[in-house]
């Protein structure tokens, strides 16, 4: 079997697609970020399982994240993914690059049973895992999220931009990885409001758009990279006091990918969250 560097690049691209596309916290949507932060001195623990299935490739990734509420409007976090190694012919997994995150809610407008808020956030994917299970780069993401929450209806909107750092590949040359940006609209509905200590369920529906610029090697664009994908994503959030379970599935409705790329069939997301 001949090792193709371009096939490897495609694999890396798909792997990165799973990485930190979600910056959800607490009562935020499943596949997109919201403006929620954490109470001061609060700790939030996340256990996440993500799946992505395309024509010939199925990927599974777990991650563990800690968040800490510095103030009632500012949260910082650390995430460690456990993901497939960067080898298209291997099914092994390893701890991936550590991700630092922060979110600041700069605006909040409260009324009886209603909260409107907006936040900015940033993520920094460090180069801690090397090339085996990481990207060998330090990438960053910045974004903005708005949210409206009431006792029955929810709605959110967000925008994220990811700056992908380039790197030098020994056998090929200088690889420039195209930046990506994301835009999301989400709504939620709670059919019944229960007492504080009873279970609470919010049903969610999201529209997620992803746009990738082409990668290039030594300044020459790689044809089968970059493009646009849109997903419709039903999901739910179930909570019981300080415990939450979030689940959802992303189904592509538009896939306009450049060249010959494997289109995503679906993605799934399952998360357990605990406020300590």
């Amino acid at each position: 079997m001949i090792f193709s560097p371009f096939k490897s690049l495609k694999f890396i691209g798909l792997s990165i697609g799973l990485l930190y596309t979600s910056t959800a916290i607490a009562h935020d949507p499943v596949f997109s970020p919201g403006p929620h932060v954490l109470f001061k001195d609060g700790i939030e623990l996340h256990l996440v399982n993500k799946n992505s299935k395309s024509d010939n490739l199925s990927q599974n990734e777990q991650s563990l994240a800690f968040k800490y509420g510095v103030t009632g409007d500012w949260v910082v976090g650390l995430e460690l993914p456990y993901q497939p190694v960067n080898n298209p012919f291997s099914s092994g997994k390893a701890v991936g690059d550590a991700i630092l995150s922060t979110k600041y809610r700069f605006w909040r407008d409260d009324a009886p049973g209603v909260q409107k808020s907006a936040a900015v956030f940033m993520k920094l994917k460090l180069d801690t895992a090397g090339s085996k299970s990481g990207t060998d780069t330090t990438d960053s993401l910045v974004g903005f999220a708005y949210g409206y929450e009431s006792l029955d209806w929810y709605r959110w909107a967000s925008f994220r931009y990811r700056f992908n750092q380039g790197k030098t590949l020994e056998t090929i040359g200088q690889l420039n990885r195209g930046d990506r940006w994301f835009t999301d609209l989400a709504m939620g509905y709670r059919f019944q409001i229960n007492d504080y200590r009873e279970p609470d369920t919010v049903w969610l529906l999201e529209l997620n758009g992803e746009f990738s610029e082409r990668n290039s090697i030594n300044g020459i664009d790689i044809s089968s990279t970059g493009g646009e994908q849109w997903f419709v994503s039903p999901g739910l959030m179930w909570t019981l006091r300080n415990v939450a379970i979030k689940a959802g599935v992303q189904v592509p409705i538009i896939s306009d990918l450049n060249g010959n790329q494997e289109e995503t069939d679906y993605r799934t997301f399952l998360e357990f969250e605990w406020h300590i």
Binding site: F39, G42, D110, A111, P112, G113, D195, E198, H275
Partner: protein, 105 residues
């Protein structure tokens, strides 16, 4: 003699029963605190956590429909407006007003 033993036992049980019942009639305080932004129980957990760290607070409940946080505490439990304002800001909500009533627990 036997009658005296029964009388003494009755007295003992009566006194014991009195002391057993008495604490349940102890005075306490009930606070009804109006807060805005209460739209989900999961997010409101921070309020519970903050209140339960305060000495003298015994119980807490949140009525999301009415936007009221109910705190039950010892009779000498007091809050200042500024204290509640900070507590709710740190929890991510907006404090409006509160009312204290004395209760028999």
């Amino acid at each position: 003699m036997r009658q005296a033993i029964v009388k003494s036992s009755l007295k003992f049980f009566t006194v014991a029963l009195f002391f057993w019942i008495t604490p349940s009639f102890a005075d306490g305080s009930r606070f009804e605190i109006r807060a805005d932004g209460l739209a989900c129980p999961y997010c409101a957990y921070g309020i519970e956590k903050k209140f339960m760290q305060i000495k003298g607070v015994k119980k807490l409940d949140i009525d999301l429909k009415k936007g009221i946080v109910i705190v039950i505490g010892e009779k000498d439990l007091t809050f200042k407006e500024e204290q509640l304002k900070t507590l709710f800001t740190d929890s991510g909500f907006t404090f409006r007003k509160f009312k204290k009533t004395k209760i028999k627990e």
